[in-house]
């Protein structure tokens, strides 16, 4: 590979957008070309500068309010007339019966919901709640696994494996405790670009769960390894979430 070609794909390399073949070819060139290697360092430095500067704006509260208000306006119109049916007692009784049957069916269905779906739902609830909390619900904020791991000592009955993957684009943001499947679990928080990933883990699951599912637009990847059960939840896209799962030993 020549310098000119290397320069063209250097940014894509920094952005993890090259395929394996191109990456290998570029790395081969970088190993022997000080100029391009220096250029790469410069590009990484710019990325770091931009990301450290915390430049993302968030919607101000009055905008959130304004949009919601505007969207709900037309909804008032079509509310009442349908309810006139219920003035008719017979209809009322029939409807009540139908509603009762429906509710019973829903409850019956609920008890047949597979367990992993229930836990996935609970994990997603935990994730969404944490995203709305200050500091993303992180109790021990650190990118250092030697800070995060000891924090769990004495708070839970097991010692979670804490790993950081900065070089793969998943940086450790911290940890916290959560409640999942009737027990206290360790939660590791990872960050990739602007996305947060929560990894819930606990030992000796009653039933080991393994798979992937979607819950309200969030992706969940879960697996069991060495007697530990993992649930990873994020608004990240599925392939990247799977990548983290693999790094964690899936």
């Amino acid at each position: 590979m020549q310098c000119q070609e290397s320069k063209k794909i250097l940014d894509a390399y920094v952005d993890n957008e090259l395929d394996l073949m191109q990456s290998v070819a570029l790395e081969g060139h970088l190993a022997g070309c000080a100029d391009c290697a220096q250029n790469l360092e410069g590009r990484r430095a710019i990325r770091t500068a931009v990301q450290n500067a915390n430049l993302r704006y968030t919607a101000p509260p009055e905008l959130v309010k304004g949009v919601r208000k505007a969207l709900r306006l037309p909804e008032e119109k079509n509310a009442s007339p349908k309810w006139l049916w219920f003035k008719n007692a017979a209809w009322g009784f029939a409807s009540a019966t139908a509603v009762f049957v429906l509710v019973a069916a829903v409850i019956g269905f609920w008890f047949h919901v597979p367990e992993d779906q229930k836990i996935a739902k609970a994990a997603t609830d935990d994730y969404i709640r944490s995203m709305m909390m200050e500091n993303r619900g992180i109790d021990v904020a650190s990118s250092d696994k030697h800070t995060v791991k000891p924090w769990f000592n004495g708070k839970i009955s097991f010692s979670p494996e804490v790993l950081s993957f900065d070089d793969r684009g998943f940086s450790l943001a911290g940890g916290r405790l959560d409640f999942l499947e009737n027990q206290t679990v360790a939660t590791l928080v990872y960050k990739r670009n602007q996305h947060f990933i929560n990894v819930f883990l606990y030992p000796n699951p009653e039933n080991a769960h393994e798979g992937e599912r979607q819950e309200r637009g969030y992706d969940i990847v879960y697996w069991a390894k060495d007697g530990m059960q993992y649930w990873a939840v994020s608004d990240l896209n599925l392939p990247e979430l799977q990548q983290l799962a693999q790094l964690l030993g899936k």
Binding site: Q4, K8, Q38, A45, I46, L55, Y57, T58, V67, A70
Partner: protein, 185 residues
């Protein structure tokens, strides 16, 4: 789809990306009030057009609406694309590691200002990549350009950013130079 159902679906797929929409609008307009107006207008248009939305990525869809609305509302056209497509990206060399450490320790304010001074066609992919974490493919969809253009624009955006940051950080009055380079005039 009745109204309530549509509203719920819209909230789940599109409205939850309001922060992303506002962020892009804010970087386009460089002004809080204009950004609020732009984002609000985009959301209302998105809702009106939501019946026709068939994709699965509400965020990319919403960002595309923000972009189109911005360029039509200010009756500005995205710059002629050929200028950038055909030009082979020629990045100037980094002059050495002091520059790297200077960049790494750049003040947030200096970085913000340097990005604001970039021409919109460079500012946009940079914001989408670094602040929204979009993939090249997603950026290509939002900007309606080929993948290769995304790559070269990002490369050039970082070149310009580097130049103006270095000028600013060295405390020179080199901003004029950087600006001229950026607007390509």
């Amino acid at each position: 789809m009745d109204h309530q159902e549509k509203l719920q679906k819209f909230e789940r797929q599109v409205l939850r990306h309001l922060d992303s929409a506002f962020n892009l609008a804010r970087w386009f307009t460089r002004n809080q009030d204009d950004a609020k107006d732009l984002a609000q207008e985009a959301l209302l248009r998105a809702f009106k057009a939501f019946d026709r939305f068939e994709g699965d990525d509400g965020r990319v869809w919403l960002l595309t609406i923000i972009r189109n609305l911005y360029y039509t509302s200010v009756s500005r056209k995205p710059q002629e694309q050929t200028v950038f497509d055909e030009e082979i990206h020629s990045s100037t060399e980094f002059s050495g590691s002091p520059e790297v450490s200077l960049l790494r320790n750049a003040e947030a304010q200096a970085v913000r200002q340097s990005i604001e001074e970039l021409a919109p066609e460079f500012r946009e992919p940079l914001v989408l990549r670094e602040l929204e974490g979009l993939s090249y493919k997603e950026i290509a969809t939002v900007m309606d350009v080929p993948l290769g253009t995304v790559m070269s624009r990002l490369a050039r955006a970082r070149d310009h950013l580097r130049q103006s940051l270095i000028a600013a950080l060295k405390g020179e009055t080199g901003q004029k130079e950087g600006q001229n380079a950026v607007s390509g005039k």
